[in-house]
């Protein structure tokens, strides 16, 4: 019994002393580790395009991405980056000379309020969910607020006509962004309600190809505009950038619905600080002086 008591006593003493003296060492403050950035990129020496994209960011507030890594595209998007030389050509001629510079010079309010903060240059086309999906230049990628992206930089010919034509598509894609941001409006969707071709936009019921004039007679600027209201809106913007004011007047005379849509879209943009007719002329002029 004595032995047991001694054991018990020693035990109590040891427990008590260990609790008092050593305790469990506690940190005085709770250490919170910095979050681990698993995607951080260590960028080495800058190349020419890095400097150019940086100066564009400083001048216009748009960050252009030409290098892809998991920080830039998420694991469900399968875009392929452009060739370096093609990306450099695209950044200089399309993004700087034809898009940002004329906007800043002529419509600074529009640029300031409506620019995407990021721009993604794709080598080929937009693939969602699978590398083998789709051949679209911009669809889907541009249904978001902060980032605009364009496909096909690898196959864009280095000619004045090609880059000028590409601007029509760029404004088309940007129109999707503004549509997402503000909404094209209840009234817009009522203009051609019930008459959209849906997936049959390329061909007429008799199987022959549908031309622009056919679509315009039906109240759409292009056959693709007859696909659905969102493309109707975007192709209207695209047409205002593609055609001069005089040409637009001829086109809208073909159907009163076009007059309504034209007035809505023209005002939608004018309210945000840009005159699309003027921009058409500016783009023609700037494209004609490109050193290509």
């Amino acid at each position: 019994m004595i032995m047991k008591k001694i054991y018990a006593f020693v035990l109590v003493v040891v427990l008590a002393s260990s609790a008092f003296i050593t305790g469990c060492k506690k940190d005085t403050t709770i250490a919170i580790d910095d979050p681990i950035d698993y995607l951080s990129i260590k960028k080495g020496k800058w190349n020419g395009l890095d400097s150019l994209t940086d100066s564009l960011f400083k001048n216009y507030g748009v960050r252009v991405f030409y290098e892809f890594n998991p920080r830039i595209i998420d694991p469900t998007t399968f875009y392929v980056p452009a060739q370096y030389e093609k990306a450099r050509f695209y950044t200089k001629n399309v993004i700087e000379r034809l898009w940002l510079e004329p906007l800043k010079k002529n419509f600074p309010k529009f640029l300031n309020d409506q620019k995407p903060v990021e721009f993604l240059i794709l080598g080929t086309y937009v693939h969602f969910n699978s590398i083998s999906s789709g051949l679209a230049a911009g669809a889907g990628l541009n249904g978001q607020f902060y980032r605009l992206g364009m496909g096909g930089a690898d196959v864009l010919p280095a000619t004045k006509a090609s880059v000028r034509d590409h601007m029509n598509t760029l404004y088309h894609e940007h129109a999707h962004q503004l549509d997402q941001k503000f909404g094209r409006g209840y009234a817009y969707d009522r203009v051609s309600q019930g008459t959209y071709y849906q997936l049959n936009y390329l061909r007429k019921p008799d199987g022959t190809a549908r031309t622009n004039t056919d679509a315009q007679n039906d109240g759409f600027f292009t056959p693709y505009g007859g696909f659905a209201p969102e493309e109707d809106f975007a192709t209207t913007v695209e047409s205002l950038i593609r055609y001069s004011k005089a040409q637009i007047q001829t086109i809208i005379a073909r159907n009163p619905k076009l007059v309504t849509k034209y007035q809505m879209v023209y005002k939608f943009y004018l309210d945000k600080g840009i005159d699309l007719h003027q921009m058409h002329d500016i783009l023609d002029q700037v494209a004609s002086t490109l050193p290509l």
Binding site: I36, P70, P75
Partner: protein, 316 residues
């Protein structure tokens, strides 16, 4: 009883004294350390091999017993990688990034490259241009494609071994010929004999083949629209006839090769034709060892870089 008391006492005593030692919390710092060390080693080794690293890519066709070599030279200061392959002799330069990833560094071919061309075209087993770096040593760097080409697939595709390009026997053989086959007109529009010897012992009965130029209109189409030709300026599309087949083939850097794709028609040119060659020849390419006056020495490699097909094309 006493023994039990003794043991109990000792056990409790030992526990009490040792209980307060804490293991460092699992905060990920070990993983970062390991990843950083691997990344540093990766950079060192990538830069150290002056002739670069060789990666072998297979087609998805099980009939094909060979793998096509890609020699990648890394410049870790400028972050550039130069590629030599059947598609071209170092005319493709792209940028690369090394980033941290979960547990392993990630090697990304961050601008368009021959690897991203092939990946998108789907003619070989490569399913991404992001690669997890699995291991690094002086002679071998193991990398694995990060994704499998679809959003719903699990992570991680094929594991590739990049082998240091040093004393690799076939490389010299491949690089010695300076003449381009397309300029050696004696081999065009005539009957040629194709002889192949397989290391596996399989027998190929010699057959008659012929090379023809593609018409100018077709060449313009390839340059504007055919994914692996758009950016590879050294490729010459030709017509390669054998037996009842006449598919499109390409003359690249000391190479003759063909690709199977259903993206273009007619099938005889782009899919069924080249697929027949993969079945009959068991390869999707020949490397050119030497162009002689009246014959061409050719060979092909397996995924270890072993010469498994040796052949000769000669004017009949």
């Amino acid at each position: 009883m006493k023994i039990i008391y003794h043991i109990t006492f000792l056990a409790v005593f030992v526990l009490t004294m040792s209980a307060c030692k804490k293991e460092a919390l699992l905060d990920g710092s070990k993983s970062i350390e390991r990843s950083n060390a691997l990344e540093k080693e990766l950079k060192t080794q990538l830069q150290n091999s002056k002739d670069g690293w060789i990666m072998y890519l297979k087609t998805l066709d099980v009939n094909v017993k060979t793998s096509a070599p890609f020699v990648l030279k890394f410049d870790t200061v400028a972050s550039k990688v130069t590629t030599k392959s059947i598609y071209g002799n170092e005319d493709r330069v792209s940028y690369f990034n090394i980033s941290a990833a979960t547990g392993a560094p990630l090697l990304t071919f961050s601008t368009g490259s021959i690897l991203s061309d092939i990946y998108e075209f789907g003619t070989m087993d490569i399913t991404d241009y992001f690669f997890k770096v699995l291991s690094v040593s002086k002679d071998v760097i193991e990398i694995q494609t990060y994704r499998k080409g679809t959003g719903s697939a699990s992570e991680g595709g094929v594991v590739y071994k990049m082998i240091r390009n040093e004393n690799v026997a076939w490389v010299k053989d491949w690089q010695q010929e300076t003449a381009k086959l397309i300029t050696q007109r004696q081999f065009f529009d005539v009957d040629l004999k194709l002889e192949l010897t397989y290391a596996s012992g399989e027998v190929f009965a010699p057959g008659t083949i012929a090379f023809f130029n593609q018409p100018a209109g077709n060449i313009a189409f390839f340059k504007a629209s055919y994914p692996t030709v758009i950016n590879n300026k050294q490729l010459d599309p030709i017509e390669f006839d054998y037996s009842v087949y006449f598919p499109v083939a390409f003359l690249g850097y000391n190479s003759i090769f063909w690709e199977v794709t259903t993206r273009f028609t007619p099938a005889e040119y782009f899919s069924s034709g080249p697929a027949a060659y993969q079945r009959l020849f068991k390869t999707n390419y020949f490397l050119i060892r030497k162009i002689n006056g009246r014959s061409i020495d050719i060979f092909a490699l397996d995924k270890e870089g072993k010469e498994v097909i040796t052949g000769k094309i000669s004017i009949i």
